[in-house]
Each structure stands twice: as C-alpha cells, then as structure tokens.
Amino acid sequence: MEVPLPLIWLVKIVVIFGGLVSTAALMSLAERKVSAWMQYRIGPNRVGPFGLLQPLADGVKFIFKEELIPAGANKFMFRLAPALSAAPAMLTMAVIPIGGTVVLGEYSIPLSIADVDIGVLFLLAFSGLSIYGVILGGWASNSKYSLLGGLRASAQMISYELTLILTILAVVALEGTLNLRTISENQQHVGEWNIWTQPLAFVLFTITMFAETNRHPFDFAECEPELVGGFHTEYSAMRFALYFLGEYCAMTVLSCLNATLFLGGPSVPFWPEAPWFVGIAAFCLKAGFFLFLFLWVRWSLPRMRFDQLMRLGWKVFLPLALANLLITGGFIAFGAH
C-alpha cells in the first residue's frame, strides 16, 4: 500500500499543530493552577477533573463574548493585529524537531513538519514578526495605555532579539549547520549536549526567552498597575484570546528551541538508543521544564523597571553575547575542537 507524501505531511501538521495549541491551552490552566499552588490556593477545579476542561470552557466563553472596538480605533488594523501576533508564533513550530525519525514499515518519517536547511534562520525571521501584532494592536486601539504598552513591548522585543540571535549563532558555530534536526542529532549522548560547551549562551538564551515573550519579570507591556492591560487593554473576546494563545505558543516554541539547542532535543541521558516515543517524552519533559520555569519565575521575582530592562539588554546581554560568540569562534579557529 502506497501512502502519498502529502498525507504524511498532513498527519504531521495536524498532530504537531494540535499539540501546540493544546499545550498553549493547557498552559493557560497551568498558569492559574501553579499560581494557586504557589499562593496556597486551589485554583480552578470545577470544570472537569482537576479543572482540566477549564481551557475548553474558556474558549467557548470567549467565542460568545462581545467584541468591543473602541471609538476612533482603526477598525481594519484592530481586527488584523491579533492574527498578526499569533500566526508567526505558531508558524515557527514548523522547523522544530520534536523527535528523531520514526520507522514504520518501509517508511521513515522525521518528526518535524518541515526539515529545512535554514531552519534556525526561518525560526528567527518569523518569530521576529510577532512584533507587528503588538505594535499595530497598541496603535490601532486609540488608547494611551495600549499605545504605550505596545511601544514598550516592541522596543523590548527588538532589544532582546539581538541577544537571541547571537546566542543561537554561538551554537550554530559549534555545530556548523542551521538545520535544527542536524543540531539535535549531533547531541545523542548527554556529554555532547551544547549546555556543557555553551553555558553562558544557555543562561543568556533562557533569560532572553522571558523578555522576548513579554513574560514576568519583563512584562512591561501589561504590568497591571501602570498600563492596565498594555497593548491588549482594548481587546475582548476571541481577539484577546488569540493574543494570549500567541503568547503561550511563543513560550512553547522558545522552550522547545531551548531544549533542542542546548539540551539535546529528544536525546535521553545514558540511553542513546531509546525508542522514538521515549525520545518524544524526553523532549516534552525538557520543554515542559522551561514552561514551568516561566510560571515559577513569575511568582519568585519582582518586576524590573523599564530602564533597567533596556540597560540589561544593551549593556550586559549584548556585549556578553558578542564576547561569547567571539570566544567560541576563537576556539574553533585555533583548533581546540
């Protein structure tokens, strides 16, 4: 029986996209559950066992809520902005290898939607586009809080994007490829994980994840006491939900990328010939750790000030990332493999 290639693509797209959206939905529940536990509360527990169906109930509620458009808003841009924010974040998932290669009968199926040679650049290019949803949403709302929130968020995102690119380039220099699948396959054994050779890049990348997704302690876009809701102050119903979905998707993708670049992707420590489903489980665990870190940090650290954030990005992270890249390059050039 011949299975056409597009069918395999479609199955992979459905599974991975479904996984991404459900992860994002579950994150909205985990956010509330973990927050509750850390504050000695119970959290949502009415809908389904342990409140597991809460995201579904929220989704239904969002659909039937009223979509408000403030007077004086630019209607077209206002409607477009949430999609511009969510779609790029979801699109970047396409190049993440969530597992090795599955061999089913005569088919060997690599577990990622697409396996492209410029994977890293593709991911960087599209994740950088999420900024449009933020700027346009803030600007189109015709509200001062939204405008300021959008501007702050975008300035923050572009500042930290530089660190993101430079830390990833340090890994790329070690691996000699932009293909994420090759990068993850080069780290089969726990001793080959890039975290051992690039500890500084790992730390910088992990902190930058928080700034790129506007998460606490860098959540200036929506720090409630100052800017109400930030760039999505005026958004309601599904448009608001789409912003949130986009944020959680961006967090998920960056967590996956972190696991792939530094923690060997689907490689299982001390068990290099683990079957593929164990690999996927290991990958989910690693990515899940970073997702939990987002929540953990939120209830552990105080929020920074905006000028502190920009100073940290430009005066500490950017020089450190540049120096790290140069030192890595020096080691490669002078033959200390």
Partner: protein
C-alpha cells in the same frame, strides 16, 4: 530541495486559516450591543482626555536604528558561524577569525561610543 518547503506552505495555510476562523466565528456569534460608554477607550474609569495619538520619545527611534545595525551585523555573522569549522579545517581559520574580530570590533567601538554618549540611557 524546494519540496522541503511545501509542508511549511500547507502549515502556513492551516495556521492562517485557524487565526482567521477564530476571529470570524467570534465576530459572528458574539453579542453586539454598542453604547457610547462601551466604545470609549478604557482609561481606568476616567474620561479620556485628548488624542491617544501622542508623539513618542526619540529613544524608540534610536533603539530601532541600533537594532537594525546589529541585526545586519548578525546576518553577516551567519555565514561565518555556519562555515567556521569548515574554514578552520581548510587552514584559514585564524585569518577569517581576524577578519571577524575586526568586523565585530568596529561595531563594538560604535556600541561603546553610543554607551558613553548616553544613547542607551532610558531615564534621561
């Protein structure tokens, strides 16, 4: 080669379809009852004063230009990062590394200049 991008195209269609469908469904099913107070931009209960189209600080412009400059720099570093190993094995590693160091060094001087002149300060 191009075949590897075909799934991305399909995936992009799925993602965009998902985003647009969400917006359209909610637009159709949600209730619509507009009032003047509801349409007013939210300012914590205060009546909005003046236009929200305020002019913004020149700092944002400065940051955006600096971002472009360093973005272009890192793009130039991409070919080097990818082939650093191959070049090193071909025996030209030190020369290329010197070129890269000079390139990054010039921009580091620029960053130091902007830093000294206070271009990175936000509280001023």
């Amino acid at each position: 080669m191009l075949e590897s991008y075909a799934p991305i195209l399909i995936y992009a269609a799925v993602v965009i379809g998902f985003a647009v469908a969400n917006l359209v469904i909610s637009d159709l099913l949600g209730r619509k009852r507009r009032t003047i107070d509801k349409d007013r931009p939210y300012e914590s209960g205060m009546t909005p004063e003046g236009s929200a189209r305020v002019r913004l600080s020149i700092h944002f412009y400065l940051v955006a230009v600096l971002f472009i400059l360093f973005d272009v720099e890192s793009i130039f570093l991409v070919p080097w990062a990818v082939s650093a190993r191959a070049l090193s094995e071909a025996g030209v590693g030190p020369i290329v590394f010197a070129e890269i160091s000079l390139f990054v060094g010039v921009l580091a001087i620029g960053l130091a200049y902007v830093w000294r002149k206070g271009g990175l300060e936000w509280d001023r």
